[in-house]
Point group: C2
Chain length 115, copies 2
């Protein structure tokens, strides 16, 4: 397989992956799950600034992308747990080098720089 072929084959999937982790809040939610948060309330508390509505929407999108699993235990009240799937855990590991790169190299606009 030549280089351009390899690229055009990789590209759409890479674009999907980038859009998944790049979508605002998704990276942070995935990291909270990787850290062990499983309940809706824990996720909400772990991600300051994220509205309940947006958290619910992002969790649904992550579930549709196959990276988050939602388990319902039919107690009263119902218990809902969110966990990373195998694919989701692999995605968090795959994000880490880019986070490390960002931490070392990415330049912030002047008004956001740490003092």
């Amino acid at each position: 397989m030549s280089f351009p072929e390899a690229l055009s084959r990789h590209c759409p999937r890479f674009q999907i992956a980038i859009e998944l982790v790049g979508r605002r809040w998704n990276g942070v939610i995935l990291l909270a799950l990787a850290r062990g948060a499983t309940r809706y309330g824990e996720l909400r508390d772990d991600v300051p600034g994220l509205s309940e509505r947006l958290l619910a929407q992002r969790l649904r999108e992550l579930e549709e992308a196959g990276v988050v699993a939602r388990e319902v235990t039919p107690t009263t009240p119902v218990q809902i747990r969110y966990t990373l799937t195998e694919s989701g855990a692999a995605l968090v590991e795959a994000m880490r080098p880019l986070m490390a790169w960002a931490d070392q190299w990415a330049a912030l606009p002047a008004d956001q720089s740490a003092t």
Copy 2:
């Protein structure tokens, strides 16, 4: 440093990194440079489908982000070489795990799947 603090400190940089590699064509251009393409014409040939105008624009953006260096040799005609900076080479390495994840896990819409 608590978890939310760590996140809010990491987040804007990570977002910048994600937007940089996620911007259409940038990943492919960085990979072509990593593979050893240095001339404008080589880059153009390595990235089918990318217009000259967009290649020039992306190279300028990547240069501004500090990941690509542009060297001008004042011969006649002028020679221009594009190379990855240290930061750019590190970025390509940091992209690879996400590319591998995408290759293994990202689901394509049905009409784009390989047969």
